[in-house]
């Protein structure tokens, strides 16, 4: 079980994947608004999304877990 952490603080605009989706490194998994830009968050490893951990439209901090990946 791996957790993907947000690389930036900002507002979580939307998730780009659902629970069950298979991601590989560099899959865009969410959009975070930070420094007045839409910053895509990229997956760092491969796996299947088992849970989304933050609420869309909420403030998130750098290092906050965004989703959980199962193998």
């Amino acid at each position: 079980m791996k957790r993907l952490l947000s690389p930036v603080s900002g507002i979580l605009r939307t998730y780009l994947v659902d629970v069950g989706a298979h991601v590989t490194p560099d899959t865009e998994i969410a959009l975070v608004e930070s420094m007045k830009m839409e910053i895509p968050v990229l997956a760092e490893s491969s796996g299947r999304v088992t849970a989304l951990l933050a609420d869309p439209s909420s403030m998130i901090e750098e290092g906050q877990p965004l989703l959980e990946l199962g193998v």
């Binding site: 603080s9 930070s34 007045k36 830009m37 910053i39 990229l42 901090e61």
Partner: protein, 514 residues
């Protein structure tokens, strides 16, 4: 009468030294996924080039005049070559007392440092142990306690201003071992087999909750907070990256890096550069492909990929000339300077200035990171340190404004007090504050009083946008030249050719800060 008998005794002791901590300890070293120190040195250096010093240093036990037991000191030291260039090397032997200081001979640890300093060659430290003062047990054997000191640390420190220093963490390293890794120009750790801490889990557990070695000092922490520059998957990767890092640098500050042969056309143009930056300023693009497109093909050696991530940094060649490359990464705070990316900038600029590498900076900087997190992290403190490093540097700079250049951090993207060649792409956009955000601050009263603030905001924005064309800046020589992005490689290669003749060997006026 020959001296064969005496030489036989030397050979016997060498054989004992080569057993290291004994077959059991060597097997345990291998079982934990680690090479022995002698295997490491062999893998690092050119084959057959190692010249060992202090081979039979260690602690011996005698029965009368007869040697009955011998344990080698737990550092191996000497010199050899990497790509036919000399390099000093020192490695901890974890199979002897776990690399702890009580089985070391301090003079032997210092010898390779002095060798590197006085004969002007890089030094590679293979760290796998604690180093420093050792166990509390020594209180019983010594019968007294002492005020801690770091004899010889001044040589390690001086080396940072003289020769390339590389620190590799290859096991659990604590105390002085951790300091010897971090006091370097380039450091890395092996994922899962290496950990770095001021004090290990048993000491920490005494002070609070129990933690594992990986939690306390694994690469998932330290390759992401800048304690070390990079993490690697294996010791072989660590040695390969060490060899590659050294290939960009001179042997010491007293020489220049010189020019490597290159068969990549300096006038090569990459079509994708024309469209890679989106018109919509809210959209990001990938900076690394831009770096790869303009440097000599395959020559970009990235340093610190996982920390200080809004700045991409590393070494590369332009028409065979070694340069330091800095570039913004819009995927991290839009390229804004954070505390850690400012620290990364400081280290890379110091590195470039110490070893006479011209600096190429690809800029997309909206300013310093803003917000509560940024203020809590003391961003401006680290930021002005980076600004000082940039301002005090003396190597030639070439700045390419790829997109944004705003605020104090944008202004600091090159040294202000001397010439820096500068080009802007047509996507360039600059000012004290970006219109988004800056508009609300500047026209707050008007917007508050307006019957339809939205409409007024749009009206004002249209007025401001009309004068933000980079061409208007070029009219006033605020930007020197606007270029076709596809010509970037040609122009930077021409800069590197000019810069090569404007470099002065010798110690840098600004001593390197680890």
């Amino acid at each position: 009468m020959s001296w064969d008998k005496e030489l036989d005794e030397v050979a016997r002791r060498r054989e004992l030294a080569f057993r290291m901590g004994g077959a059991d300890k060597v097997a345990r070293q291998h079982a934990s996924g680690k090479l022995t120190v002698r295997e490491r040195i062999e893998a690092l250096l050119d084959p057959g080039s190692f010249r060992e010093t202090g081979t039979i240093a260690g602690s011996a036990r005698y029965d009368g005049t007869e040697l009955v037991d011998f344990m080698p000191a737990n550092q191996i030291a000497g010199h050899g070559t990497i790509d036919a260039r000399p390099v000093a090397v020192v490695g901890d032997d974890f199979t002897v007392r776990g690399g702890a200081a009580d089985a070391s001979i301090y003079e032997k640890l210092l010898y390779p440092e002095r060798l590197a300093h006085d004969l002007r060659m890089p030094i590679v430290r293979l760290v796998d142990g604690t180093g420093g003062g050792g166990s509390v047990r020594t209180l019983e054997s010594k019968g007294f306690t002492y005020v801690p000191a770091l004899p010889g640390w001044h040589v390690l420190d001086a080396n940072l201003t003289r020769v390339p220093v590389i620190g590799l963490a290859l096991g659990s390293v604590a105390g002085l071992g951790a300091a010897r890794v971090a006091a370097s120009h380039y450091s890395l750790m092996v994922r899962e087999t290496a950990q770095i801490f001021a004090a290990g889990p048993p000491v920490v557990a005494h002070a609070g909750r129990p933690v594992t070695k990986e939690e306390l000092g694994g690469s998932q922490l330290h390759a992401r907070n800048g304690t070390v520059d990079d993490e690697v998957e294996s010791e072989q990767d660590a040695f390969a990256r060490t060899r590659r890092f050294l290939s960009y640098l001179p042997r010491s500050v007293h020489e220049l890096p010189g020019r490597h042969p290159s068969d990549d056309d300096p006038r090569r143009r990459e079509e994708m550069l024309l469209s890679i930056v989106p018109h919509d300023e809210r959209k990001v693009y990938a900076m690394r492909p831009i770096v790869e497109a303009i440097v000599d093909r395959g020559s970009f050696f990235e340093i610190g990929r996982l920390w200080g991530r809004s700045v991409i940094g590393g070494l590369a060649r332009f028409n065979g000339i070694s340069c330091a490359v800095l570039a913004s990464d819009p995927y991290h705070y839009g390229g804004a300077w954070t505390r850690t990316s400012s620290e990364k900038l400081t280290r890379l600029v110091d590195l470039a200035d110490t070893f006479h590498l011209p600096i190429v900076h690809l800029v997309d900087v909206p300013g310093f990171q803003i917000g509560v997190d940024a203020e809590r992290a003391a961003t401006i403190r680290a930021g002005v340190r980076a600004m000082s490093a940039i301002e005090r540097s003396t190597v030639p700079w070439c700045t390419i404004l790829v997109r944004k250049c705003f605020g104090v951090a944008g202004a600091a993207s090159r040294p202000a007090g001397r010439l820096s060649m500068r080009y802007a792409w047509p996507s360039g956009s600059w000012g004290s504050l970006p219109i988004a955000g800056g508009l609300e601050a500047a026209y707050r009263a008007e917007l508050a009083a307006a019957p339809n603030p939205q409409a007024l905001r749009a009206q004002i924005e249209a007025r401001l946008r009309a004068v933000t064309s980079p061409l208007r800046s070029a009219e006033k020589f605020s930007i020197e030249e606007i270029i076709d992005p596809r010509d970037t490689r040609r122009l930077v290669c021409e800069f590197a050719d000019l810069a090569l003749h404007a470099l002065t060997p010798g110690p840098s006026a600004q001593p390197y800060r680890p």
